[in-house]
Symmetry: C2
């Protein structure tokens, strides 16, 4: 089926790689608000070249690029991607320039090749292949490509809330995925939610000589006590009502994760641990991975942090915390519960500036679209590991009510997204295009 399309993909692989390189040469770093308009423009051009109609939707932040092709088919397939990338720092850890992609030993290296410009280009290029080979597309296509994924998709709701019709489809492909540590392809059906806050304590007009600690309050100690009140030593979160609204993993999710190999022993070495949190193993480990919320300290800061000793009583102390939220939890609700908890524990003076916050979202493991993706994958790669959710977060909740989404992609276990020497295996890039052709085929027969 669609042999001319897959032949075109194979024959013109160099062209698709060049197209990807061109997009990766734009340092579209959302955290720095750089290169976003240029990258959005190039994505729009690529979509147009592939025969799609396009529109640029301004937001208070980076614009959202949409593309669509309505062929009057029964089914509609939607893609969610992003043209922004993580900062490339530290530059000196890269073996080749992050924004000048280079091929070495069958891998393409550069910032964004895995997360997620590789996926973006591969998905557009499949449509290019249909167009160039004059093959009739059997499904309708929609693209939503945003530019602030790496900073929490802060302005994406401005687009999605006003365009629920556009983001309604029969099935959608989310932005990331690839091969796991054992080389098997993996699909992720959900994303956890997040609440990112800081805790700030201020006790003195300025840092004092630490000899005065005998009569003055300590901001650092106060932060310690506040943090200690949040989580016990078995990592149980002590905020009143924190777990109340959690929707536990469903029976079918529990069955699905039974099949998953966590590669426990192999990953212990990667993580550098003797054992997992609280000695978790087997099914318990899996259930924590897919089903547990977290209260994690991302950063702690107070006083003197240089070499050697400096005797100071710091005026301030602060920390950054991310709560990963699972199904049923709401970031505003958890924020209120955190505030109430600190007030009740006598920490009403602790300030809690809030950054991101949004809920979890999942596509059911037994959804027909999931089965369809599995079948398409089977035709190209073979077995696929189905994760009911990623432990990470993303704005899936904005789409989830309107379209069942599955996250697959061209990455692999060594892709180092967010790190120096980000890369993809070029052969995976090629085969994920084949898988997409198979997916379109499967979808046309749904």
């Amino acid at each position: 089926m669609y042999e001319s399309v897959t032949n075109f993909i194979d024959d013109k692989l160099d062209m698709s790689i060049e197209s990807l390189k061109a997009l990766c040469r734009i340092p579209s770093v959302a955290a720095k608000n750089e290169g976003l308009e240029v990258a959005a423009g190039l994505v729009e051009m690529m979509l147009q070249d592939a025969g799609l109609h396009t529109e640029i939707h301004p937001t208070s932040g980076a614009p959202v690029v949409t593309g669509w092709l309505d062929v009057g088919a029964k089914r509609t397939l939607l893609f969610y991607d992003h043209y922004d990338v993580q900062p490339a720092e530290p530059f000196d850890l890269w073996d080749s320039p992050p924004f000048d992609p280079e091929i070495r030993d069958g891998r393409l290296y550069g910032r964004g090749v895995a997360d997620n410009k590789g996926d973006t280009v591969s998905r557009i290029w499949v449509l290019q292949a249909f167009k160039e080979t004059r093959t009739d597309l059997p499904v309708n296509i929609k693209f939503v490509v945003e530019g602030e994924e790496e900073i929490g998709s802060v302005h994406l709701p401005e687009y999605t809330e006003k365009n629920t019709d556009f983001i309604t489809a029969d099935g959608g492909i989310w932005e990331f995925g690839g091969a796991g540590i054992d080389g098997k392809q993996e699909a992720w059906l959900g994303l956890k939610g997040i609440l990112f806050v800081e805790l700030e304590v201020e006790q003195l007009s300025r840092n004092m000589h630490s000899s005065t600690a005998c009569i003055l309050p300590s901001a650092a100690s106060r932060l310690i006590w506040a943090l200690d009140s949040l989580k016990d030593q078995s990592s149980r979160i002590l905020i009143d009502g924190f777990y109340d609204d959690i929707k536990p993993l469903s029976q079918s999710e529990l069955e699905a994760i039974k099949k998953i190999d966590m590669h426990e022993e192999q990953l212990k070495e990667v993580y550098g641990i003797e054992e997992y949190l609280n000695g978790l193993t087997g099914d318990d480990l899996k259930q924590a991975y897919y089903g547990d919320p977290t209260c994690n300290i991302c950063g702690l800061t107070s006083g003197y942090q240089g070499k050697g000793s400096m005797t100071v009583l710091p005026a301030k102390a602060s920390c950054k915390i991310d709560f990963r939220l699972v199904e049923g939890m709401h970031s505003d609700d958890i924020y209120r519960k955190l505030r109430t908890h600190l007030n009740n524990k006598g920490f009403g003076d602790v300030q809690i500036p809030k950054h991101d916050g949004y809920p979890a979202a999942k596509t059911p493991v037994d959804h027909p679209f999931v089965k369809l993706v599995e079948r398409a994958n089977q035709r190209i790669f073979g077995e696929m590991i189905i994760h009911p959710t990623s432990p990470g977060s993303g704005p899936l909740y904005l789409f989830n009510e309107h379209v069942p989404m599955v996250s697959i992609g061209c990455g692999d276990y060594e892709s180092k997204a967010h790190s120096p020497n980000e890369s993809i295996i070029i052969e995976n890039f090629r085969l994920t295009m084949h898988r997409l052709v198979a997916l379109i085929d499967e979808m046309s027969r749904w």
Copy 2:
């Protein structure tokens, strides 16, 4: 008495200031191991100019300069000073260059003018005045001037342990002191001890994406729990046996501190607090100030500390702690108790690198030498506030068995030792020289 000496001091005040400026132009920062030999050489030259014999004692660190003049008198007066200074950073907060002293509105500004080059020079200059006016010195004189006071006098024991004869004297003047917030001269009879340690926790091979916090241990949380176990919310230190060996303030010390005005309300504004630690006031506040040990967090560090959000599970977390020790406590003992405490609480994996450590030391408030200093001060300045101890630390214990010491000096409440725009009042510099002449006179009649 000694009018020719005090006249010389007044007439040649400019010369003594020039001498001080010259010493302050040497950026002898022990923390950077810079300018120490040069400063030691200049101090030796000054001592020789003032008619003293000198010797330079090498140590594994900065050399110790000694000077002496044995006039065959009954009493011997010893001075402890240091030629090193704190770093001057941040330079941009200085109104004039830290290492090029400048006079403005009756104050001399520069790094070290207060702590403690001003004292060092004033003390040597008094002997210069005796020599220049051919006035017989009625007491024997000894100087010990070290070069690592600002980094914990780490190598001073190499000198003091081998030279107990030299540091034996009838009375000694320690390195700091001056006028308090109300302008009254203050004397400090003791210094607390110190134990400076770090707590280090490492849990992972490298920082991980924080989504893995659901299955991986957190170094930051572990540090929080370890720290929380050390001190309760009333700042009571929970280490087993921590308070066991404390020698409480003596009856005469308690009587002495009753006379002291802590300027509670005025200092609240300076500190920016509504109330002192645990609501301490009055005698309780004083007893805490002079008699309490501390467990103070000087610094906390883990993970991401930049702007905004970054979702990371930090591999490491650490903090710096200084324990101020009061009479009876020993730093090695407290270190062992801290280690045992953490082991017993299940934190055997927490590393505790140790920096400084030494015990407290005090001269009794009713010692005749203290009375003598009070009388000398009375003749020049009037009333003197006697603090049984400073809440700060210093290596007084190295001298204390061999010589009763009192800390007085030319500083004042606005001197900003250790901070930008360090300064002294030139009139205080002059009058402390007069006080020293009075002290020598009093001592000759002891």
